[in-house]
């Protein structure tokens, strides 16, 4: 899976787990996720959805504002974790 696909999967998850009105087309790559687009309860739901969907667990260090800053930053972390998971 390339990073653009990962980004789209994350946007799809946001739509299906947070708000059906937040379609991927409405979510620009540089949108601020944590503390802007989503409040902390929604970020928590997104974290659980990502872990369930992709089958990994975020480490303490990965749970940070840097990771959940934008779709670019989140996709980069998720993509790296998937690469490690799939060898």
């Amino acid at each position: 899976m390339d990073i653009e696909t990962t980004k789209l999967e994350i946007k799809n998850l946001i739509q299906h787990t947070i708000d059906m009105n937040l379609t991927p087309e409405k979510l620009a790559d540089d949108f601020k996720i944590a503390g802007d687009l989503l409040d902390s309860m929604a970020v928590t739901n997104l974290i659980l959805a990502l872990e369930e969907y992709f089958g990994f667990t975020f480490s303490d260090e990965e749970l940070s504002l840097e990771t959940f800053s934008t779709f670019e930053s989140l996709a980069a972390v998720v993509h790296k974790k998937l690469e490690m998971l799939n060898g």
């Binding site: 989503l38 749970l63 959940f68």
Partner: protein, 275 residues
């Protein structure tokens, strides 16, 4: 709509006086009632409207439905941080006793959402009057649940641009006598320890009760782990595990209905208890 009476009162729980709310159909010959085990912390508040609507719907089917607040929760006595999961299981036993004292009910169906579903399971294990279980988006693993709950403190801190403390540091704090505040709910060492103790006692009765397990989300399929965790309950031929495509109602404030979830649960009740 069939007539029903609604009555609020306080009764003696395992530790303190508890708020109880009884939904009674005006005319019914059923001797099986439904007792609700509410979810944890803010999930209780978020799911309240749906819980009341479901209770009224079940009462229209002729079931007496009893809702109550656990010790330290809602309008019941005590402080949230002073109680454990074992106390809340005792509260459930006390609620069933109070229900039987006030009505002609002989058996109960325990109905729980999220952590309430796990408490319903734990309570059912030691009783011989449980006719079934309704488990909405159950959280079967107590330890995982409380760790995910405490993790919200970390997420809340970094989302709001505050200095975040690691999950490991938060767990160390709560395990060694210091409370951790998560969305205004103080998780005490006593409460935390009770979650860890319960995980060791994960309920696996040899013959599971007839159970209705509903996973609820906008995703097209159920979470795989939850389906796997439900497999042992499906050994009972009257059990049913369904995925309902509907927006969750326990983790957001704007969801006041769960029409499909309520209707499908009513259909299962009719199947196992008659029309």
């Amino acid at each position: 709509m069939a007539e029903q009476l609604e009555e609020m009162f306080f009764f003696k729980g395992g530790c303190v006086d508890l708020l109880g709310f009884l939904h009674s159909p005006a005319h019914s010959t059923r001797t099986t009632a439904i007792v609700h085990c509410h979810p944890f912390a803010e999930e209780k508040n978020c799911s309240h409207a749906v819980t009341v609507k479901a209770a009224r719907a079940f009462a229209r089917q002729g079931f007496v439905v009893f809702r109550f607040d656990y010790s330290g929760c809602g309008d019941s006595g005590g402080e949230f941080s002073d109680f454990s999961l074992q106390d809340w299981i005792e509260d459930t036993n006390a609620a069933i006793a109070e229900l039987k004292r006030r009505t002609r009910s002989q058996n109960v169906i325990l109905w729980g959402t999220r952590l309430g579903a796990a408490l319903a399971l734990a309570c059912a294990r030691d009783r011989d009057d449980v006719a079934g279980l309704i488990l909405w988006q159950p959280s079967f693993h107590f330890k995982d649940y409380i760790h995910q709950f405490i993790r919200q403190k970390l997420v809340s801190d970094f989302s709001n641009k505050r200095q975040a403390v690691s999950l490991q540091a938060l767990l160390h704090k709560v395990a060694s006598g210091g409370a951790v505040q998560v969305y205004g709910y103080p998780i005490s060492t006593l409460l935390y320890a009770s979650f860890l103790a319960m995980d060791d006692a994960y309920p696996h009765p040899e013959t599971p009760h007839p159970s209705y397990i509903a996973t609820i989300s906008n995703m097209p399929s159920a979470p795989l782990q939850l389906v796997r965790d439900s497999e042992w309950l499906m050994q009972n031929p009257a059990s049913s595990c369904v995925h309902i495509v509907e927006e969750p109602f326990w983790d957001r404030y704007w969801r006041w209905d769960a029409v499909r979830t309520i209707e499908k649960t009513q259909a299962w009740l009719t199947k196992i208890q008659g029309g």
